[in-house]
């Protein structure tokens, strides 16, 4: 197992280096002079030169790159152009909010998806199955930037049950989490159904039934547990979609997380902060993927020997 973990971690290092390189090059993709673009066309030449020096853009590219990587190792992501505060500090302040939202959205997804997927598999080919899968397909197609405002109209404006935006109480979390979690729920429900159907065809389930185990018990106790492995994997892999979806959901519900910080920093052309946010989300995604991979290896020993 240790060798498996070491191999997987080692495979992650070049990916992280590639991610850092791509994020570093973002600022150099800006058409024309990045410093000019950040300060605007009307900026004085002296200000532009000062910013160029502050960002290190006047130094050789290789030197900028090694400095950037060195900074990352020390946890230094640069300084926000707008507030002058360290990017790492600004991001750290927002991490708990995004973590809270993403966790809640995943919880919503699991709570909605598992019963839906199980019902569809157990009553395969019936109206329940068709209805559940049509709902899942609709859930995958509805954009969360539409679902969010719709939920806000119904539950915040019309019914007045929940706050329309902001963060504070548990009530504030409900609408953003549901709006972010439903698309994931739709995908998970489809996967749960498919995975459970496959398990239900396995000989051990038929053997259990032959031994007199009731159908609900055979489904829940025997087949469902085993069908969870791919479902958990998908949940881990889809964490990326949750993180990207959070960019939009946080913007809609004024949720003070990394996603909203990213959109605000784009609006202010605060590129060091844009780089920091992108890097953090990508690294988090890589880390979650690695953990999912390791968990999969733990659950299914065959993976370790591939």
């Amino acid at each position: 197992m240790l060798r498996f973990v070491a191999r997987r971690v080692a495979l992650t290092i070049p990916v992280l280096l590639g991610v850092a390189t791509l994020v570093f090059s973002l600022i150099h993709l800006i058409p024309g002079d990045p410093a000019h673009a950040m300060l605007g066309e009307a900026a004085a030449e002296a200000d532009v030169a000062a910013l160029r020096a502050r960002l290190g853009l006047d130094r050789p590219l290789l030197e900028q790159y090694t400095d950037f990587l060195g900074g990352l190792v020390r946890g230094d992501l640069g300084t926000s152009m707008r507030t002058g505060e360290p990017v790492a500090t600004l991001i750290a302040e927002r991490v708990p909010a995004t973590f809270e939202l993403a966790s809640a959205a995943m919880l919503v997804a699991v709570v909605v998806a598992l019963p839906l997927g199980i019902a569809a598999a157990v009553w395969r080919g019936t109206a329940i199955d068709h209805g559940a899968m049509a709902a899942a397909m609709a859930g995958m197609s509805i954009p969360n930037f539409w679902l969010g405002p719709l939920l806000a109209i119904i539950f915040a404006v019309e019914l007045g049950w929940l706050p329309v935006s902001g963060r504070g109480s548990l009530a504030h979390l409900v609408l953003p989490a549901v709006s972010l979690g439903l698309a994931l729920a739709a995908m998970l429900a489809r996967m749960t159904r498919a995975s459970l159907l496959e398990e239900l065809r396995e000989p051990y389930v038929r053997a259990a039934r032959a031994r007199g185990v009731s159908r609900p018990r055979a489904v829940i106790v025997h087949a469902f547990r085993n069908s969870l492995v791919p479902v958990v994997t998908i949940l881990g892999l889809q964490s990326g979609a949750v993180l990207t979806g959070a960019v939009i959901t946080e913007t809609i519900f004024a949720w003070p997380g990394i996603g909203r910080l990213l959109v605000q920093s784009i609006g202010f052309r605060d590129y060091p902060l844009v780089q920091g946010c992108i890097l953090l989300i990508a690294v988090t995604y890589v880390a979650v993927n690695l953990l999912t991979d390791l968990a999969y290896g733990l659950l299914d020993p065959r993976i370790r020997y591939e």
Binding site: S141, P143, I153, A241, V274, I278
Partner: protein, 268 residues
């Protein structure tokens, strides 16, 4: 469900082709005194914050959505097919290079890299297509690489190789046709994804810029009138959801017919 998908997509294509001619109203025409007016016999979907006909703008926006979807999917699928085929067929350093680039691009979840690219290049239709293509080809390359790895070992390919057929001919005549069904399915499902991605970027203000009508931009502007004029939000959202659903239904149907091995673990 496949038929529903065909009907929705067909309707959207017709609407995009006919465009504003359906309503006979210029989507850019502003009727400021009637701004934010709700649906009526004259304006079925109502008017927006500048008094423009929402149905006319949705029809014009259908062109943008389908155009972006087709451009992103077309370019991504072509690039992905070529790189995936080369990686799968030649293996070795070519495969390593393509696979490592894919790994790095896949480390950026979903739209994140597209958001970053458009943020630095500036919002425009061209940059949206560029950004979505830069992240979009990876999925096709991975799919084609996997398929080529499987197909290249089949007997008829080995026979062609034994007969002295040149590599480009083997790839073009023997391997790629076998890959096309799976690629078609992925491209159809990809259309829905690309349309959703364009709408997401436009919603964030990073996509198509006003006054060009885009469904995502319409939703973004409608958000500030959520309380007094919800029709500004409801109709563009319905249009996006319906078209994406149409492509998803169509893709699912094609998958079951052409490439059942791509289904979620067989799908039962």
């Amino acid at each position: 469900m496949t038929r529903i998908g065909i009907a929705i997509v067909g309707l959207a294509v017709l609407a995009a082709l006919a465009g504003p001619a359906v309503t006979g109203i210029d989507p850019a025409f502003q009727n400021l005194p009637l701004r934010l007016q709700g649906p009526s016999a004259e304006h079925w979907f109502g008017l927006d914050e500048l008094g423009r006909d929402i149905l006319a703008r949705l029809l014009a926006g259908a062109r943008i959505s389908l155009l972006v979807g087709a451009a992103v999917v077309g370019i991504s699928a072509t690039v992905g097919m070529v790189l995936g085929a080369l990686a799968g067929y030649y293996g070795g350093i070519v495969d390593e290079a393509v696979s490592r680039v894919c790994d790095v691009l896949l480390a950026f979840p979903g739209l994140l890299l597209a958001i970053a690219i458009v943020a630095v290049l500036g919002p425009s239709l061209t940059n949206v297509v560029l950004a979505l293509t830069l992240i979009g080809w990876v999925g096709y390359a991975r799919l084609v690489r996997g398929q080529v790895l499987r197909v290249r070992e089949l007997e008829y390919v080995q026979a062609a190789r034994a007969l002295g057929a040149a590599t480009p001919r083997i790839l073009a005549r023997h391997i790629l046709p076998a890959v096309l069904p799976a690629l078609t399915v992925q491209a159809t499902l990809g259309m829905g994804g690309a349309i959703l991605a364009e709408a997401s970027l436009s919603f964030l203000g990073l996509g198509v810029q006003p006054p060009t009508p885009s469904w995502g931009t319409m939703l973004n502007y409608g958000r500030s009138h959520l309380l007094d004029a919800p029709h500004l939000t409801i109709f563009p959202g319905l249009a996006i959801a319906a078209l994406v659903l149409g492509f998803n239904f169509l893709g699912d149907g094609l998958r079951d017919a052409l490439a059942p091995e791509m289904s979620e673990r067989g799908r039962g």
